[in-house]
């Protein structure tokens, strides 16, 4: 007889392990092979793929680009999401409509919206340049210049995922205790002071959670880039996910792309762990 404690846990655990473990182990094995379009199969070439990726500047550049992109988008999402959450936190006229509307973008499919955004950023037919021309700016080469493409992707990411920050932070605000605010009110603290001394510290744990979750998701950016810019122009918006996709599923260098993806995974875990620890110490003042 299956014990209750196993009845509860095992189905999910075994299912996930069955689905995840094979691919993971397989990837590790493949990363030591020369599997490519000319010869499929598991030979063993030692760490040659890993040696190659150290020389691969395109990979390292994509990582650097991703760091910049994540940092910018997540910072913007956090600041904007927090500001919006604070604005609609208290009861106000039309509050519900604002809250519902602000949530909508995160519910929409990134690639589908990217298709729309592509038309928005179209240089001659899209509304972005049309509206800017009204105030005398432009035309901006949105998708055909390196900087423009980068900014377009950032705008879309901010549009899509600020709602997620907004959701988490507003959920956090709603469940804050009342007492510290009473105390602050009795002390006659100004709104700004109340924010920095009460709200912000109380929100620190949930802020860290939200930032980490967004960093994790941002580090996987791929859908938006694929549809909007295909990594271009040139490699101006290429992220590691997209680069590995090209190596693995376009050029069919399966062995090499496995090595790339594992390196990418390990680097991500290390970086995110460090960021989490730093944030913890910085915002909460204690170690994890």
């Amino acid at each position: 007889m299956l014990k209750p404690k196993h009845f509860f846990l095992l189905p999910a655990l075994l299912t996930l392990a069955a689905i995840i473990l094979f691919p993971l182990v397989f990837t590790v094995r493949v990363s030591f092979s020369s599997w490519d379009v000319y010869q499929a199969g598991l030979d063993f070439i030692g760490g040659r793929n890993y040696a190659r990726l150290f020389e691969d500047t395109r990979f390292w550049e994509s990582l650097l680009r991703l760091s910049g992109m994540s940092l910018i988008t997540v910072t913007l999402q956090y600041v904007l999401g927090f500001a919006l959450a604070l604005a609609v936190w208290k009861k106000m006229r039309g509050g519900r409509i604002f809250r519902v509307l602000f949530l909508v973008p995160m519910m929409t499919t990134p690639v589908v919206m990217s298709v729309i955004w592509r038309t928005v950023f179209h240089e001659s037919l899209g509304p972005a340049n049309d509206l800017l021309s009204m105030v005398g700016i432009g035309p901006v080469p949105w998708l055909s210049s390196a900087a423009g493409a980068f900014i377009s992707v950032v705008i879309v990411e901010v549009w899509q995922w600020t709602p997620f920050m907004f959701l988490l932070l507003l959920a956090g605000l709603v469940s804050l205790p009342r007492e510290p605010y009473l105390a602050a009110a009795i002390d006659g603290a100004s709104p700004a002071r109340t924010f920095w001394q009460v709200t912000f510290p109380l929100m620190a744990p949930i802020s860290i959670g939200a930032i980490i979750i967004r960093l994790i998701e941002a580090s996987k950016i791929m859908d938006t880039v694929y549809v909007m810019t295909s990594g271009g122009p040139g490699t101006a918006t290429e992220t590691p996910s997209y680069y590995i996709y090209i190596r693995g599923l376009r050029d069919f260098q399966v062995g090499y792309s496995a090595a790339l993806s594992l390196a990418y995974l390990v680097l991500m875990i290390i970086t995110l762990t460090i960021i989490a620890k730093v944030l913890m110490r910085f915002l909460v003042g204690k170690e994890t």
Binding site: P4, H6, P23, T27, T119, L167, L170, P205
Partner: protein
Amino acid sequence: MGRTYHIIKYLCLLVWTAFVVFPFLWALSTSFKDANAVTSGARYLPWVEFEPSVQGWTSLFASGSQGINIVTPFLNSASVTLLASIVSLGLGTLAAYGLSRYSYKVGFVKNSDITFFFISQRIMPPIVLAIPFFLMLKEIQALDTIFGLVIVYVALLLPIAVWVMTDFFASIPKELDEMAMIDGCTPIGAFFRVVLPNSTAGLVVAGMFCLIFGWNDFFFAFILTFTETQLLPVAIVSLNSSVTPWWSLSAFALISVTPLALIAIVVERFMSRGSLAGAFR
């Protein structure tokens, strides 16, 4: 400062609202355009700036070489998302309950490690698993099938279900299930008769997140299906790369994002009640 502050606040909120709804309005407007209205530069208002046409919408349901079939991808997306969400929610809820009520120990692996194993799957970039998934599904002849996608999506959604439900069960006093056992339930009976009926809030939140992340995934659907089991995001991307007119693309996009956008209303209600907070600590 009260009044100016309020005016500024509403102005900022309106600016952001405009930013949020702009792509939808633009798509809505575009979906009623024809070739003329699109190629003559950005036009916004139907009747005023261009003569509306419904061909963008009719083309989605028209048959033949002219038509773009949206019905099949829509049903495919719905089946995969619903099936994977139900399986994930079922398995995830059981596991989360187990993790919140029993202590497991295998060697040095404890509850927190098991929870981390589940949740850490969200860190995994899809690309790492893409090729092995491809080969695995090929091996069991599940490439380009709903079944194959459901398997993969369960791996994607299970962590979300476990994560939300673990936090939710932590908020249900364990005395409640103990009481049920004292009153004659088996541990499993206590879960189904007493804990589950009191878990609707958690199940709704977890279910919504499963639906959102399932419906919106593109990458796995893109790699693991070709023509037989096309999902909405893949369908629209393949239209995008061909010479599909903007009006059809826009109508297609609006149809595929609307069902989920409506979920925002439900999410807002839970968020305002404060019942989401527990899920994110």
